[in-house]
Amino acid sequence: MSAEVKEKEPLFSPKNLKLIKNPINLSNPITVQVLGICSALAVTAKLMPAIVLSISVLVVMAVSNVVVSLLRNGIPPRIRIIVQLVVIASMVILVDQVLKAFVYDVSKQLSVFVGLIITNCIIMGRLEAFAMSNKPWPAFLDGIGNALGYGIILIIVAFFRELLGSGTVLDMQVIPDVFYEFGYKNNGLMILPPMALITVGVIIWVQRYYTRDLIEKN
């Protein structure tokens, strides 16, 4: 393009690191942008499905971000959404097949929610907002960052819901039998989706308490 020589940016320059760090806290897809809430409510009754879904989203997001970023100059703007969807959908089908092959039980528990990764607003949003106008490497980091931000919240919510709702963590009993003998009971409300919403609400509360930048000024 122009005559000036571009300086080569190091792989993990501060700017690039920010792409990973920001979505974990300051622009977290769930607690700040409030995207992808539906799957966060649906799969977090137990920890295992939540972890598996987080990893699936991570893979889909990173790879499709890179693919779309590579194709970004060749995609006609009018049909870009369709192209993005095709990329995500093929990734999701791959992930779904891998899950079915290696962790059949969890894949059964997740049922449609693996397929619904296609409609996860976070992925579409990142493709549209970032991958379409950035190089593959930053796009890859951005995908990882956002998927981590999503996964961390999912795992925190699932941990508390499983602990309080079923008394287990990863299907291992952690609340000792002595408690139950004294009349302790698992909280049935934690298993129900409304409690996931309230748990996400509490996380937002705590996050805003420690990150004052997030509080709206009015």
């Binding site: 009971k185 909280n187 049935g188 934690m190 309230i198 609400g201």
Partner: protein
């Protein structure tokens, strides 16, 4: 009394800005305003001063709850001894119930007021009076055998997520007492419904199902007479069985103008009309039940008098109140008759309408504006 006033005045400087106990001002203020009408005066703007402030309002509701509370205590004892096949004198029954009830009330107030004070300190505002009434309502709408730790968790949940996250008393969307009840109902269903929970320390051979629980499974043989329903001689949540005592409370509330008669009336009307409609439909025994029995059974009267009329969560416009109350009555009976999972629908009906109350108000006001605009246009034309 004068000595007390003087003592408080003497302590006051310590708690005010710059005093050594400044941090505890909200706690001090709570005690002072509880004992005396506050001496604060608004300094700017037009204002109306009324003799009745929020604490006086709360105390009135508190007093109106007392008859139902006392009867509830007696009723716990009555059913306990009935299930054992004994019949001691009324005082024994009352004291049995009193001792059952006391820990529940203490735990509710302890947890609730403790959290209120913590939040007041953190946000440096006054301790809200709001919990006074909620703290008595919660023990009255749970079964007598509810474990205390469950009540503690439910109260904490209700105070934090029902009230404080929205900004404290007066800002809540749903009724905090019912939030606690709903939490218990969904979190610990085995301790909240069924045949075992309504009578304390019941003999094993005895069936302790409430009339509504029986009606739901189609067992209409053990229905109490309407007189018994009215008087409240049936198992149920502690404070809600006696319609008579609730009506006494309702009279106190209406005479002092604390609760709104429009809401009470329309809740009862809604329930009665829905009962009548079901009678006309008449598919099964439950639908054929006398509509009057619907009003006397379960928590209907209690909900209509003490819960639906909560001025914070109810509709605010006159027309809105009629709609709000009527729909509570209708939905409560609808849930009772149709939903096999929930024997009692009053709690869910009131919570649902709490959420809809602002919407109802919005449309009542909008329609009023439209009507007046139309009137104005006609006036301009002529």
């Amino acid at each position: 009394m004068k000595a007390l006033r003087e003592f408080i005045d003497k302590q006051k400087p310590h708690f005010e800005k710059g005093g050594k106990l400044e941090k505890f001002y909200s706690a001090f203020d709570a005690i002072e305003t509880l004992l005396y009408v506050p001496d604060k005066v608004t300094t700017a703007g037009a204002h109306i001063r009324d003799a009745i402030d929020m604490k006086r309002t709360m105390i009135t509701v508190f007093i109106s709850l007392i008859p139902a509370l006392l009867f509830g205590m007696w009723n716990i004892g009555y059913h306990h001894f009935l299930s054992l096949g004994e019949s001691p004198d009324h005082w024994t029954m009352f004291f049995y119930g009193f001792l059952k009830m006391l820990p529940i009330i203490v735990v509710t107030y302890g947890v609730g007021l403790g959290l209120e004070i913590v939040f007041a300190q953190i946000r440096s505002h006054e301790v809200n009076e709001g919990f006074f009434v909620s703290g008595l309502l919660i023990p009255m709408i749970v079964p007598p055998e509810t474990p205390l730790w469950q009540i503690a968790i439910a109260v904490a949940f209700a105070v934090i997520f029902g009230k404080e996250v929205f900004g404290g008393s007066g800002m809540n969307i749903v009724n905090p007492a019912l939030t606690a009840r709903a939490f218990l109902f969904f979190a610990y269903p085995s301790d909240m419904s069924g045949e075992r929970v309504w009578i304390s320390e019941m003999a094993d051979s005895f069936s302790g199902a409430t009339p509504l629980g029986n009606a739901l499974v189609g067992n209409f043989d053990n229905m109490p007479t309407q007189w018994d329903m009215f008087m409240g001689y049936m198992p149920g949540s502690i404070g809600e069985t006696s319609t008579l005592m609730i009506l006494v409370g309702a009279l106190i509330l209406l005479a002092t103008g604390i609760a709104n008669w429009r809401i009470m009336l329309s809740v009862f009307a809604g329930g009665y009309i829905m009962g009548l409609l079901f009678n006309l439909w008449g598919l099964n025994d439950y639908m054929n039940m006398d509509p009057l029995s619907h009003l006397l059974l379960g928590g209907f009267a209690f909900g209509a008098v003490f819960m639906a009329t909560d001025p914070v969560t109810a509709a605010q416009t006159n027309k809105g109140m009629y709609i709000y109350g009527f729909l509570i009555g209708v939905i409560a009976i609808l849930i009772r008759v149709f939903n096999p999972a929930y024997p009692e629908g009053v709690m869910l009906a009131i919570l649902l309408m709490n959420v809809f109350a602002p919407l109802i108000d919005h449309y009542v006001i909008e329609s009023n504006i439209k009507k007046r605009l139309k009137r104005m246009k006609i006036a301009i034309k002529n």
